[in-house]
C-alpha cells in the first residue's frame, strides 16, 4: 500500500513533465501542423546552454531561465532557416527533415561533449515528504508539479483568451483566410515554434536532475513518452496532453515499480495500440470530416 502511494505520487510528478513536453508537441502541431521529431534534441541543446550558465553562476534558477530562452531561440532558428525551406504540400517532408535534424544535433553534441552523462544537482531536496508514514513527493517534485501546472494554465489562457492565441490558432487552421484578414501568418508560425521549443527546453531542464544527468540522448525517452501522450490525447488537444501525460506517467511508474523497468516500453506500446485501435485520431481528437 505504501509502495502504491509512493509510485502513484512519483508517477504523477513524472507524468506532469511528460505532459509539459507533450504540450510543446501540441503547441507546434496547432501552430504549424507538424510533428516535431527534433523537439527533444533541440531542447537538449538549450539545456546544455542553461547548465553552462548554472555552472558559471551557481544558480539553477538562472540556468532554468536561460535554458527556456535558448529553447525559444533554437525554435526561431530552426523555423526560420530550415523548416521554412521545406515544401509543405504534404506532412512527410517536414517529418523527414525533423528526423534529419535529430541525427545532426545528437551526433554533433556527442562529438562535442562525449557520451558521458553530466550529473545535475537539483536545487531543492529530493528527499520525499513522509505523510502518515508513507513517503510521497519530494520538494523538488512539488516544484516541478507547480511549474508544469502553471505553464499549462498560462498556455490555456494564451491560446483561448488572448488575441495572439486566436491569431496563432487561425494561422494554423486556415492560413489563407487568416492572411486575408490581416494576420501575419509566418510570424505566428515562428512564434509557435519558439513557444513550443521553449516549453520543451523547460521540461527537459526540469527532468535532468531526477535522471542520470545530461547527455545528447537525455531527452529521448521523454520524447517517446510525450509523443505517445500527444498521439493518445489527439495531437490537437492540450487537455489530452495533460490527462494523457499523467496517465502515462502513472502507468510507467506502476509498471516499473511492480513488474520491472523492462516492461515499461511494452506497457506504453500496448496502451498506444489499444487506444488507436478504438480511436485512430486519439481520445480527445475533434471529429474528422467524412471522406466518401
Amino acid at each position: 500500500m505504501d509502495r502504491l502511494a509512493f509510485l502513484l505520487a512519483t508517477g504523477i510528478a513524472r507524468g506532469l513533465v511528460v505532459a509539459l513536453f507533450a504540450l510543446s508537441l501540441v503547441i507546434i502541431w496547432r501552430a504549424a501542423r507538424i510533428v516535431n521529431f527534433a523537439q527533444a534534441a533541440m531542447a537538449v541543446v538549450a539545456v546544455f546552454v542553461g547548465l553552462a550558465v548554472t555552472n558559471l553562476t551557481g544558480s539553477f534558477w538562472l540556468g532554468l531561465v536561460v535554458a527556456t530562452a535558448t529553447g525559444a531561440a533554437v525554435g526561431y532558428a530552426v523555423e526560420r532557416w530550415l523548416i521554412r525551406l521545406v515544401p509543405a504540400t504534404t506532412p512527410l517532408p517536414g517529418m523527414i527533415v525533423a528526423i534529419g535534424l535529430v541525427m545532426v544535433l545528437q551526433s554533433a553534441i556527442g562529438i562535442a561533449f562525449g557520451p558521458r552523462h553530466r550529473p545535475v544537482q537539483a536545487p531543492l531536496s529530493e528527499q520525499p515528504f513522509v505523510v502518515g508514514g508513507v513517503p510521497v513527493l519530494s520538494p523538488y517534485d512539488l516544484f516541478v508539479l507547480l511549474v508544469a501546472l502553471g505553464v499549462v494554465v498560462a498556455l490555456a489562457v494564451l491560446f483561448n483568451a488572448t488575441g495572439l492565441g486566436l491569431q496563432m490558432r487561425a494561422s494554423a487552421m486556415a492560413p489563407e483566410v487568416s492572411r486575408l484578414l490581416g494576420v501575419r501568418v509566418p510570424r505566428m508560425v515562428t512564434l509557435g515554434w519558439m513557444l513550443s521549443a521553449a516549453v520543451a527546453a523547460l521540461a527537459v531542464m526540469l527532468l535532468v536532475p531526477t535522471e542520470l544527468g545530461l547527455n545528447a540522448h537525455s531527452g529521448d525517452v521523454l520524447f517517446v513518452h510525450a509523443f505517445t501522450v500527444a498521439v493518445l490525447g489527439g495531437l490537437d488537444s492540450p487537455v489530452g496532453a495533460l490527462v494523457g501525460g499523467v496517465v502515462v506517467g502513472v502507468l510507467v511508474s506502476l509498471v516499473t515499480g511492480f513488474l520491472g523497468a523492462g516492461f515499461a516500453p511494452i506497457a506504453v506500446l500496448v496502451l498506444l495500440t489499444g487506444v488507436l485501435l478504438v480511436r485512430p485520431g486519439g481520445i480527445f481528437a475533434a471529429k474528422e470530416a467524412r471522406t466518401a
Binding site: L85, L92, V104, S107, G262, L272, L277, A292
Partner: protein, 355 residues
C-alpha cells in the same frame, strides 16, 4: 505505349542482369568486400519495400528495422530446430526462409492494418513505440533470448562448390539471390497496376475511393509486401552473421533505412539499392578515415559512430530541401536525357513524393 507484358519483361530482364552482375562481382571481391556485398543486399531487401511504402503510399514507418528483426528471428527460430533435428542443406534453408516470411508477414499485416486506419504522424508514433519496445519484447518472450538474441545455424559452402567459392562468397551469393527474389516482385508491383493504385491513394484518398479503390486494402497490401521483403533481408543477415539480436535493429537502424530511401530517391527501386550501399559503406569509410589520420584517442572515440550519423542527418535534410528527387533522379536524369526528349510529358519531381 508500353504494355503490361512489355513492362514486366523489362523488369525481369533488368533483375536478371543485375543479379548476374552482382554474382559475377563476388569473384573479384575479397572476403571482407563479399561480406559487405551480402549486407548491402540484405539492406536492399528492406529499403526496396520501405521506398514503396513511404514514396508511393506516403506511409512513414519508423519501425522498419523491426520487420527485418522479425524476419531474422523467424529464420533463426525455424532453422535452428531444423539443424538440431539433423536437417541440413537447401531444405533447412527453405524452412528458415518460410519462418522468416511467416513472422515478418504477420508483423507487417498487423502494422498494415493499423497503418490503414492511422494518419501520418499517428502511424509514425505507433511504429516508433514498437521499435523502442523491441528490446523489452525480446527480453520478456523467453524464446527470443533477451539482449543476447538467438543464434542461427551456419550455412557452409555445399560440397560441389567447396573448391570454387569461399564462405563469404557463398553467403554473398545467397544474399544476392534472396534479394533478387525479394525485390523483383516489388519492382513489378511498382510498375504495374498496384503501383498506380498506391499513387492514387496517396494523391487523393477520396478520389481513389470514388474510382473503386479500397485505400485500406492498398495501404495494408503495401505494408505486407514491404514487410515480406524486409523479413527476407533480416533472414539473410541472420545467415551472414549467424545470430539475431535486438541491439542490431534499434531506432538508429530504422532511421538509417529511412535515410537510404530518401537519399536514394523515394519511390525508386534503383534509389533504394544505391541508398542501401551508402548506409553500409559510408560508416565504414568514415571509420577507416577517422582511425587512419591518427587523431587523439578521446576525439577518435567521440567521432566513432557519431560522425556517420552526422553525415546521414545532414544528407537527409539537404536532400529533402534542395534535391527532393534524390540520387536516383539525379543519376537517372543523365542516363535518360535522350528518352526524356522523346517523352516530353515527363516532369521533374518538385517534392519528395511526386514522381
Amino acid at each position: 505505349m508500353t504494355t503490361d507484358r512489355q513492362r514486366t519483361r523489362a523488369v525481369l530482364l533488368r533483375a536478371a542482369v543485375c543479379t548476374l552482375l552482382a554474382v559475377g562481382a563476388t569473384f573479384v571481391l575479397d572476403d571482407y568486400r563479399n561480406y559487405q556485398l551480402a549486407v548491402v543486399a540484405a539492406v536492399f531487401c528492406a529499403t526496396a519495400g520501405l521506398t514503396l511504402l513511404v514514396g508511393l503510399t506516403g506511409q512513414l514507418s519508423l519501425g522498419h528495422a523491426v520487420l527485418m528483426a522479425a524476419g531474422g528471428y523467424g529464420y533463426a527460430l525455424t532453422a535452428t530446430p531444423a539443424a538440431d533435428a539433423g536437417l541440413g542443406g537447401p531444405a533447412r534453408f527453405a524452412l528458415g526462409i518460410a519462418g522468416a516470411l511467416v513472422l515478418a508477414g504477420a508483423v507487417g499485416l498487423l502494422l498494415g492494418l493499423a497503418g490503414a486506419r492511422l494518419k501520418g504522424p499517428y502511424l509514425a508514433g505507433l511504429t516508433l513505440a514498437l521499435v523502442i519496445a523491441l528490446p523489452a519484447i525480446t527480453t520478456q518472450v523467453p524464446v527470443l533470448g533477451g539482449a543476447a538474441g538467438v543464434g542461427a545455424p551456419f550455412e557452409g559452402v555445399p560440397d560441389g562448390l567447396r573448391g570454387v567459392v569461399g564462405v563469404e562468397q557463398w553467403h554473398a551469393w545467397i544474399a544476392v539471390l534472396v534479394a533478387a527474389v525479394a525485390v523483383t516482385p516489388l519492382a513489378l508491383l511498382r510498375s504495374g497496376r498496384a503501383g498506380l493504385r498506391m499513387r492514387a491513394v496517396h494523391g487523393d484518398e477520396t478520389a481513389a475511393r470514388l474510382a473503386g479503390i479500397s485505400p485500406a486494402r492498398v495501404k495494408t497490401g503495401a505494408f505486407v509486401a514491404g514487410a515480406l521483403s524486409a523479413g527476407l533481408g533480416g533472414a539473410v543477415l541472420a545467415v551472414v552473421t549467424q545470430s539475431v539480436s535486438p541491439g542490431a535493429y534499434d531506432l538508429a537502424y530504422s532511421l538509417l533505412l529511412l535515410v537510404a530511401v530518401v537519399v536514394g530517391g523515394l519511390g525508386s527501386i534503383g534509389g533504394a539499392a544505391v541508398g542501401a550501399a551508402l548506409v553500409v559503406l559510408v560508416p565504414w569509410l568514415i571509420d577507416t578515415v577517422v582511425t587512419g589520420v591518427g587523431l587523439p584517442a578521446d576525439l577518435e572515440q567521440r567521432l566513432a559512430g557519431n560522425a556517420a550519423v552526422l553525415v546521414f542527418g545532414a544528407l537527409l535534410v539537404a536532400v529533402t530541401v534542395v534535391w527532393p528527387g534524390g540520387l536516383s533522379h539525379a543519376l537517372g536524369g543523365r542516363v535518360s536525357s535522350l528518352t526524356h526528349r522523346l517523352r516530353p510529358g515527363r516532369k521533374v519531381p518538385r517534392t519528395l513524393t511526386e514522381r
